[in-house]
């Protein structure tokens, strides 16, 4: 019996997001000359969302909100055991219950985690489906399980994967680390730990599936309509062209909705069996146990530096635990952030009986940044240096720790200046823990690196209609970051219209290809493709206007809904009037061009936190966070700020509260709701000041723009941990920094000779 299927590697799926996609048109031109920011009317300004009215009136339809005639509700029976063999599944009683239209086995052999799908039903109502689940008789043969990574690594632990519970997942080396440590005046070695952090989007995962003959339509709460379509085609073995995946509005994903869900496949199968639409939405409990989380990382970091702060060697040994999956890789920030010729990393995956982790907002990077930036802070103290000066001392102008190719642009120095000034860097304790009294204050910071360059091959169309309608279409999705709005802003800017004039189509897998909305990919993929299409449409309109106005196209500008002579604005024609000359709806195809290979492209940034720590209770209060990011050209300042607020809030929440807790005896997750799984709430939020370096990268794409979702989140937990270190003089080194862990760290400090 096959007990261990291939290891789930969600991280590899995530990495694929940023791989260049083959171009359909293969004619992507070099980036057009970039206008100065001052020439833009909308791009870079704070622009309210074009679909705001939909959201605030409740008209926006989320997958949860959909209902169709004859629709059935599907429910999934999940394993209560963390490890067990299924002896038998008897569906007969469930099938016999009135109102139950289909029942389905989902698992025949070994269960490897509590919450794994076993069977499913479709019934006329949710309550009937729940009753039916209770009637399914499953006989399990329970087997020993292990849910704690340290226990899984012990000899004789129950085997979770055939290869063993620990496998090497990555290693890399450059230079000579032994030589580097010999050259160092100071060498530190510390271990930093992160917890399992659950995405917990407000809209739980869910899908509605409907067949029309051989054609399948799926409405899915997803971050990636294209991947879900491709995944369904593979899994159901039907042509991709017969599948349409739609997502109009989606209530959060944070990485957990990037691929095809088993609930989606189940809904499609139940719909096929019954000939009726089937809707499956997960409960909050299922959302907690069965759709991933951020894997833990236990990272032992060793760094050597000369007296002046020059890094001579950096080594990392990391154990990542992502349940039955491979977990994240943390290497990139350690390798690339600072100039360091001698570097080595070994990464191991530890397997336990829990569902596979999934990508979560900046997978690997947030964990790595806690360790790397924690080490930089501790190293600065050991060297007697200003932590910011230590970072500047090791500034890398080239990738791979200053040993690779040059960065096209790197606005990190500007970020440091902006952030340090705004937080009042000079107010920090010169010596960590240098304050006095029961409540200590501290200021800390952390830096960030993340690609955010966008996917070559992203396509978008602008269509002009004879009635004057201008439509922008792209098979991307707006996951709450404001994609609809930035498409409208870019199209309107380029065509001399207002954002509200543009009809936006997205969230449909039939539209021109775009990558999944993860990895800060959306804006730097979609905005340049829309710009490209709009520039082509603008050329067409100028040529049309040229004939009407009798002046050369080069002398015409599109603005204020008109095509007008640059020299004489009275010579003008309304675009609506001009459109009447269009013979039929005309599409203009746009593409995001390739990424030049001679330069390295990354986003950079720094976040600064001010905290108060009660040394009696161990409670931390974050008072203020200042962020400064270099994400190239900001397309919409209003939504960009919102993304930063979200990244900081989630980072603070992970730093202080969030942890998926497993009961070692039953192998089940115990905190499966918002009450027990603590997330930051309205009363916890500090003042957050989002700043941007506004460094336009003209080589990267035709708008010089990069992504922001990940950058905002990456340094947030680490800067708070470092601020707590500055307050206490001891680094907690493990998140969440619960009061108990803070008090334990203070005891560790007292015990120090």
């Amino acid at each position: 019996m096959k007990t261990h299927p291939p290891i789930d590697d969600a991280f590899a799926e995530y990495e694929k997001l940023s791989l260049p996609q083959s171009s359909q048109t293969a004619t992507a031109a070099a980036p057009a000359p970039q206008p100065k920011p001052s020439e833009f009317k909308y791009i870079g300004k704070p622009m309210p969302r074009v679909d705001g009215r939909m959201i605030v009136t409740g008209a926006a339809r989320y997958t949860h909100d959909l209902a169709f005639d004859n629709m059935l509700i599907g429910k999934i029976l999940r394993s209560p055991h963390a490890c067990a063999d299924i002896v038998s599944i008897d569906l007969s009683a469930a099938q016999a219950l009135p109102g139950v239209k289909a029942a389905l086995r989902l698992k025949e052999d070994r269960i490897r985690w509590a919450g794994e799908p076993v069977a499913a039903v479709a019934a006329v109502s949710e309550s009937r489906a729940e009753e039916a689940l209770a009637l399914i008789k499953v006989e399990y043969k329970p087997l020993p399980h292990v849910t704690a990574p340290d226990k899984a690594m012990e000899a004789g632990a129950p085997l979770v994967q055939d290869q063993g519970n620990v496998i090497k997942s990555n290693d890399a080396v450059r230079g000579d680390v032994e030589k580097g440590f010999k050259e160092a005046d100071v060498v530190l070695e510390k271990t930093y730990k992160t917890a399992w952090e659950v995405h917990q989007p407000t809209e739980t995962h869910g899908s509605v599936a409907r067949w029309d003959g051989d054609d399948l339509t799926v409405w899915d709460s997803t971050q990636a309509v294209q991947s879900v379509r491709d995944g369904l085609a593979r899994t159901l073995a039907i042509p991709a062209g017969r599948i349409k995946v739609l997502k109009h509005y989606m209530g959060g994903g944070f990485g957990s909705k990037l691929g095809l869900g088993d609930y989606t496949v189940t809904a499609a199968k139940l719909a096929k069996m019954t000939g009726r639409p089937v809707k499956i939405t997960l409960t909050r409990r299922e959302n907690s146990t069965s759709v991933g989380y951020r894997p833990t990382a236990w990272m032992t970091v060793k760094a050597g530096a000369k007296k002046d702060g020059t890094l001579t060697a950096l080594t990392v040994k990391s154990y990542n635990c992502g349940g039955v999956g491979r977990g994240d890789r943390v290497a990139a920030p350690y390798s690339d952030m600072y100039a360091c010729p001698n570097f080595k990393i070994e990464e191991y995956s530890v397997f336990v009986n829990a569902c596979a982790s999934r990508a979560m907002r900046a997978p690997g990077h947030t964990q790595a940044t806690l360790g790397l930036e924690g080490m930089m802070e501790e190293l600065a103290d050991a060297l007697g240096m200003d932590p910011l000066a230590l970072r500047m001392k090791n500034f890398a102008a080239k990738d791979k720790g200053n040993t690779g190719i040059p960065y096209s642009t790197k606005g990190l120095e500007q970020c440091y200046k902006l952030g340090a000034e705004k937080i009042g860097w000079d107010k920090r304790n010169r010596k960590p823990g240098g304050g006095s009294g029961k409540v200590r204050t501290g200021i800390g910071m952390a830096s960030q690196i993340w690609p955010g360059t966008g996917a070559p091959g992203t396509l978008a169309d602008i269509k002009l209609y004879p009635d004057g309608t201008v439509e922008a279409s792209c098979g991307t999705q707006d996951i709450g970051t404001g994609t609809r709005t930035h498409m409208a802003v870019v199209a309107a800017e380029t065509l001399g219209l207002e954002p509200k004039d543009i009809v936006i189509h997205l969230g449909n897998s039939d539209l021109p290809w775009a990558p999944g909305s993860g990895g800060s990919m959306t804006t730097p993929s979609v905005a340049p493709a829309v710009r490209d299409a709009a520039l082509k449409a603008a050329d067409y309109l100028k040529a049309l206007a040229s004939k009407k106005l009798g002046i050369p196209p080069a002398e015409i500008v599109l603005e204020n809904r008109k095509a007008a002579s640059k020299a004489d604005p009275t010579k003008a024609i309304e675009l609506k009037e001009l459109a009447r000359g269009i013979p039929r709806p005309l599409p203009f195809h746009g593409e995001r061009g390739d990424i030049p290979s001679a330069f390295a492209f990354q986003t950079f940034g720094a976040e600064f936190a001010e905290v108060e720590v009660d040394t009696e209770t161990g409670k931390i209060r974050v008072k203020k966070v200042v962020t400064a990011h270099d994400i190239g050209r900001v397309i919409n300042r209003l939504t960009a700020e919102s993304q930063v607020l979200g990244g900081v809030t989630q980072g603070m929440s992970a730093a202080l509260y969030e942890e998926k807790i497993m009961d070692p005896h039953t192998g089940t997750m115990v905190n499966t709701n918002y009450h027990d799984y603590k997330v930051a709430t309205a009363m916890d939020i500090p003042e957050i000041v989002p700043l941007f370096a506004d460094v336009v990268d003209e080589r990267l794409n035709n708008l010089g723009t990069k992504g922001l979702g990940e950058p905002a989140r990456i340094p947030a937990s680490a800067c708070i941990a470092n601020a707590v270190y500055n307050a206490l003089g001891v680094h907690v080194r493990e998140i969440p920094m619960t009061p108990a862990r803070v008090l334990a760290a203070l005891k560790r400090k007292e015990a120090r000779p």
Binding site: G58, Y62, M250, S642, G646, A682, M683
Partner: protein, 208 residues
Amino acid sequence: MDTPRKKKKSVSRRAFLQTMGGGAMGAGVVSRVLGKEMPAFQAGPGPMDVVASKTIALTVNGRKVKIAVEAGETLLQVLREKLQLTGAKRVCNRGECGGCTVLVGGKPVYACHTLALQVDGAEILTVEGLADGDKLHPVQEAFIDKDGYQCGFCTPGFIMASVGLLKKNPQPTFDEIRAGVSGNLCRCGNYQKIYAAVGAAAEAMRRG
């Protein structure tokens, strides 16, 4: 959240149903009963046969409706599934996050945590009924202007909680705004802009 409170340590199912019919069930008690002591308590046949369905009268967004409900049915189920008013969301379904907030008699309540039978005769306002035709409520306008949302799934709940707050306290301080929306959870983490939106709405409503 304003919900009638009644201190009771525990309650039998019969007593629970009787009390519920009187509309005085405390939110905390319901949770305890539904969550722990009566796991089988669900709409549908079986245990639900104890109490037959009953027709209640509601005024929802100014429209009078009569509707048959079962004893275990929540106000949220009635709104979303029977009246197709899907603005209020089912997020936690256990009174923890405020995604389902609506106004009952002008006060914000968690609809997932309110049995339909409890609100027989009540006036309900949901996010769909807030605008005056095409004219948005100042709170709605302010959420758009300040970008008081990201994915928007929690937004109807935040808006209704904010409207409830401003009805009770038209000039809230910053801390009163925070406390006023503290029963609502935004996982995207846009609180700062939500505070700004509520503040701006209060200002706009003062100016008229």
